[in-house]
């Protein structure tokens, strides 16, 4: 142990020393500040696992129950902390099992480094045991990928991997390391990567564009801001708030932008998109200047592009030049890191209030409250609603919890109703819509932010896609709170079947197992609620619990999520029922 400590001190100085490729992998991770990694062992990555054993007091490895769980946990960790998540797997099936999480991270711009083992160099291309062309498979869903076949390449490859994953528009990177490279010894030294000659993570800021944007914003009668996750990734929450308050512009969030601005902020008008709020969806088609901040006009946000914000001049603040004019044509494109561009913009913006324009939001909000929100949050019918469960959790956590949601109706309800006081509090699979995301992502989020309450909101369908991660929770004792909103249906698909397929419920009804018994099998305290009277106490008990807790709430089987912009319809056709 003594000698090990001594060697670790040496790492910091990056002095040269002979190490194996496997040990180099660990040392690189430590150099990059990784303290927690998620993974699953196997033949082609065993040398690295052997080193993990040696370094176990420095680098904590969490054994998930499936590689998909490792990838999602790394994502949850990254989203809660803003740091790079790390997942590791063996070759072949281990590597392919990571792919769903990698694709999810790519479309949601989540910084992640995945390390996979690979067969030895001399076996490459021979269809060797557990050989898969993971570079080929992962190419379309990674920001960058690289295969290492010599130990000496490991430090530069990993340094580049971390730099690429976290810089500019973040994303997942995959490093595939052949087994011979893990065994080979070489002179190790580490140098962090700070630049790659062909890669410009941030486009240069053009002050002229910012002046144009400011002039347009200042001249607007009905300006409207939509902010996305770019605000959170770019750490521009303060600048966003300052801009909104100075200009008095009503603002709405995309799903992934939620929590960048406190939900209760008077200028926060809610969420846009397919199941977003009525007022911001409708008024997108009435504003005169639309200001998009770190968002990419996803089709779930815009609906039919031919009728989307046609009346508005569009200003787009964006770090990724490829997003400009991709979906919506802009009048002024402000390229750059959104924190820096907003900083430049702020002094050029006039103080304003836009009171009349604001009232239009308030009026429409009142309509939505009457038709939808009231019934969701304070129902009079007998059966429990998903909304009232979220409302209870809000009450009990005061809006300070990290809410991790899976995919489906419960996700839209969680995003619509969860209150967020703090940034990085809404963790969900936005772009890929991956069922099975929430349980492992909640594990990663809680480990990344142990002082915060982490509540996972999951449907009975998605829960069963990665239910095995209860084993990880049990083994690591990570105190996540799990809420399954059980409607005995693949609810969101059933809603579409009801509305657009004549109620033909083809394969969407679920006969579920006894979730309580399953939780207990993993020694996780569990409770089922079927009546409104029990809900309050059960939520209190869950939040008060110092350990992990499973709460199943049996809700109305055939509730629908409204408002809804049917797919391909205009945002003006936002339906309330």
């Amino acid at each position: 142990m003594e000698t090990l400590k001594e060697r670790l001190v040496e790492t910091a100085t990056t002095a040269k020393m002979k190490v194996s490729g496997a040990e180099a992998v660990i040392r690189c991770l430590l150099e990059e500040g990784a303290d927690l990694i998620y993974g699953y062992p196997g033949g082609a990555i065993m040398p690295v696992y052997d080193e993990l054993y040696k370094f176990r007091d420095k680098l904590h490895h969490v054994l998930t129950r499936h590689e998909q769980g490792a990838a999602h946990a790394a994502q949850g960790y990254a989203r809660a902390t803003g740091k790079v998540g790390v997942a590791i797997a063996t070759s072949g099936p281990g590597a392919t099992n990571l792919i769903t999480g990698i694709a999810d991270a790519q479309i949601d711009s989540t910084p992640m480094v995945c390390i996979t083992g690979q067969v030895a160099r001399h076996l490459l291309g021979t269809d060797a045991f557990q050989e898969t062309d993971i570079i080929g498979i992962s190419t379309p869903v990674t920001k960058w990928s690289y295969q290492v076949t010599r130990a000496s390449e490991i430090p530069t490859a990993l340094a580049k991997a971390f730099y690429i994953a976290r810089s500019g528009r973040p994303g997942p990177v995959l490093i595939d390391i052949t087994k011979n490279a893990q065994f080979e010894e070489f002179d190790f030294s580490y140098k962090k990567c700070t630049a790659i000659r062909s890669y410009k993570p941030k486009p240069e800021i053009n002050p002229a564009r910012i002046e144009e944007a400011a002039a347009l914003i200042n001249s607007a009668k009905k300006p409207f801001i939509i902010f996305g996750q770019g605000i959170i990734l770019g750490k521009a929450e303060t600048e966003l708030k300052a801009l909104i308050e100075k200009s008095g512009i009503p603002s709405a969030s995309t799903v992934l932008g939620l929590s960048a601005l406190p939900t209760e902020h008077p200028l926060h008008t809610g969420m846009v998109g397919m199941h977003g709020n009525y007022a911001p969806n409708l008024l997108t088609n009435e504003c005169d200047v639309l200001i998009a901040l770190g968002m990419r006009f996803d089709d779930r946000v815009t609906g039919d592009l031919s009728t989307y914000a046609k009346q508005a001049r569009v200003v787009h603040f964006e770090i990724d030049p490829a997003e400009i004019d991709k979906n919506v044509k802009t009048d002024v494109a402000v390229l750059g890191d959104v924190r820096e561009t907003l900083e430049h913009l702020l002094p050029l913006i006039n103080d304003n209030k836009h009171e009349a324009w604001h009232r239009e939001f308030k009026d429409k909000q009142a309509i939505e409250y009457d038709k939808v929100i009231k019934n969701d949050l304070f129902p009079e019918k007998e059966k429990l609603t998903m909304g009232e469960v979220i409302e209870k959790i809000n009450k009990r956590t005061g809006g300070d919890a990290i809410v991790v949601s899976d995919v489906g109706q419960h996700q839209m309800i969680a995003c619509r109703y969860a209150k967020f006081n703090r940034t990085k509090s809404n963790i969900t699979s936005g772009g890929l819509g991956t069922m099975g995301y929430a349980l492992p992502a909640a594990i990663g989020a809680k480990m990344g932010a142990p002082k915060r309450e982490v509540v996972a909101i999951i449907g009975d369908g998605g829960y069963q896609m990665t239910i095995q991660e209860l084993g990880t929770i049990f083994q690591t004792r990570v105190p996540v709170k799990i809420v399954v909103l059980n409607n005995d249906f693949l609810g969101m698909v059933r809603q579409w079947q009801q509305l657009f397929f004549d109620k033909r419920y083809a394969s969407t009804e679920l006969i579920n197992p006894d979730f309580i018994t399953i939780a207990k099998g993993y020694h996780i305290p569990a409770r089922r609620v079927t009546k409104r009277e029990e809900l309050d106490e059960a939520v209190n008990e869950m939040i008060a619990s110092e350990e992990a807790y499973f709460l199943e709430v049996c809700v109305e089987k055939e509730d629908n999520v409204f408002p809804m912009v049917p797919s391909g319809a205009s945002v003006s056709d936002c339906r309330l029922e």
Binding site: P140, S198, Y199, P321, D325
Partner: protein
């Protein structure tokens, strides 16, 4: 309105990049008509010349996505009118025809093609030019019998000056 675009990409010479770039076309269902990759005047910098039919909006987005790739230095697109471009075709023909069919010698001369090699069994003609020129030669030779025919991808330079030269110089010094 679809037309033929030449996309040129300057990149690091790294394994795997061809996959990344072709995947961008694949994802959007755009068929690559021809593709040429070779090292350019700077060591370790590759130049891709890709020809595909699409509309201008598509090509602009494709170039945006290509430029996003970490190892890509710069990508451009040009219409046929904006470029000088050439392809090379090789024709393999039975040697006996060269002596028996006088007409063939005239065809070769008139089309400005070159004889690359003459062997006992066959000879090989090379013709560099635009697609319609190599096509025309093909049509003329076909009646005599062509043993083998192959055509290269397009190489192209732009008519206007491109700032890539300065950029590459900078790149070389980086």
């Amino acid at each position: 309105m679809n037309e033929s675009y030449t996309v040129s990409v300057y990149s690091e010479n790294n394994i795997g990049l061809l996959n990344r770039i072709s995947a961008i076309f694949l994802k959007r269902h755009i068929n690559i008509e021809s593709l040429t990759v070779s090292e350019c005047e700077i060591e370790n910098v590759s130049r891709f010349v890709i020809v595909a039919d699409m509309d201008e909006d598509q090509v602009r987005k494709i170039v945006g996505q290509i430029e996003k790739q970490i190892e890509v230095i710069k990508a451009y697109y040009h219409t046929d009118e904006e470029t000088i471009y050439q392809e090379t075709a090789l024709f393999k023909i039975k040697s006996s025809l060269l002596f028996d069919e006088r007409q063939i010698q005239n065809i070769i001369k008139q089309s400005n093609a070159n004889i690359v090699t003459v062997a006992r069994e066959f000879f090989v003609i090379e013709k560099t030019g635009r697609r319609h020129e190599t096509d025309a030669l093909y049509d003329e030779l076909a009646p005599f019998g062509i043993m083998q025919f192959v055509r290269s991808g397009r190489i192209a330079v732009s008519k206007t000056e491109m700032n890539i030269s300065a950029l590459l110089k900078e790149f070389q010094n980086a």
